[in-house]
Symmetry: C2
Amino acid sequence: MKLEKITEQSRRRYDDACGTAHGLELIGERWAMLIVRELMLGPRRFGDLRASLPGLSANVLTQRLEGLEAAGVTVRRKLPPPASVQVYDLTDWGREAEPIISALGRWAARSPDHDPTLPLSPVSMMLSFRTMFDAGKAGDARMRLGFRFGAETFVVEVADGALTARREETDGVDVVVTAEPEAVAAVVYGGAPVETLSLTGSRAVFERFASFFELPPKAARV
Amino acid sequence: MKLEKITEQSRRRYDDACGTAHGLELIGERWAMLIVRELMLGPRRFGDLRASLPGLSANVLTQRLEGLEAAGVTVRRKLPPPASVQVYDLTDWGREAEPIISALGRWAARSPDHDPTLPLSPVSMMLSFRTMFDAGKAGDARMRLGFRFGAETFVVEVADGALTARREETDGVDVVVTAEPEAVAAVVYGGAPVETLSLTGSRAVFERFASFFELPPKAARV
DNA sequence: CGGCATCCGGGAAGATACTG
DNA sequence: CAGTATCTTCCCGGATGCCG
């Protein structure tokens, strides 16, 4: 019950007017950017975040959510009855951090040490589609795909040379993919055989979709 | 003198195949991205880096440079005689991290808590030009400006709707600005009077140049 | 002086257990 | 399920000192 005065004062600063340095003060602490990533496709509950970020302990998650809220990146929200559960969501400005996450992901994919076989959260998988989509390869393709990762479902739409991904029911799509995120990544980025996935609907559409993505070449150490 | 086996193994990982998570393992540690920023306009010595990043201690800088080199982001290089000094430089791939730094800076500039009056390194100032340059405002302008920050000199060139900044002597430019980086930022981004700067050459060119930049509006907490 | 190793104090991260 | 309390470990930052 003692009064804590460590609201803002004690957080480590860089004392640098550069926007990059300030950005690091906002979302540069360990786990912060990954929490933002998990919120990028819609609000999530405390437990959802923990489940998506193995290794992140509850106390650190609490601290980060407090810090992000103080910075104006996220908001805590109570869903209306009868749900009445508390969720964490990005502010409009927080949502605009996606280019940072994309740029970091695109760059790091070229790292010689990147290990794509590690666990992958559903949201990561969807965002990687947005990041790695090659509009040139897609041309004027038009398709809608559903993805089922356990209880989470997403719809990915390709139209007019753009790709959108939303958390949504998979009604009326051309093909539904039911699998682990890691297996989808192995097929789309790693060239694994499509047979490892469970497809419902047009397999041809999925194979065409998979051809829109290609990992960039690894960087050399020069 | 005991053998330390903590070269790679023990660094905290995220265990996440997402490229963003891997990127954070590479340049997400405290100070790492700011060190990369300082190298973005050419190689620097250990002491240069310390001077540009007040608050960064020597031992942490050593650790970061080791980590960045192990990750393939930087290389240590010995300049040829007669200089023969050791410098740190980005690899080609490391230099490609600039979009991350730009995206972070552009986003954070809209933070309600951003304080643009803090100290600013010369490199930050130059990179902020690259980040905040508005090609639409520049139109078909064509100009070359020199900036002198103590012993460091830079040339900024605007041509064909693009801006480039290089570490270079200020020969033959339209106008040379001699000032502290903070003062330049106050004029270009904060609308401070041009009289606070020492100009040699065409003041009109500098004023036109300053009109190519505008800070984005602050974000609201919604 | 530049580059790095070493020691130390404080604080953040991580694991576990506990509470409403 | 949504956090809080506690404890341990490790990282960050400052100081000092060694060696070329």
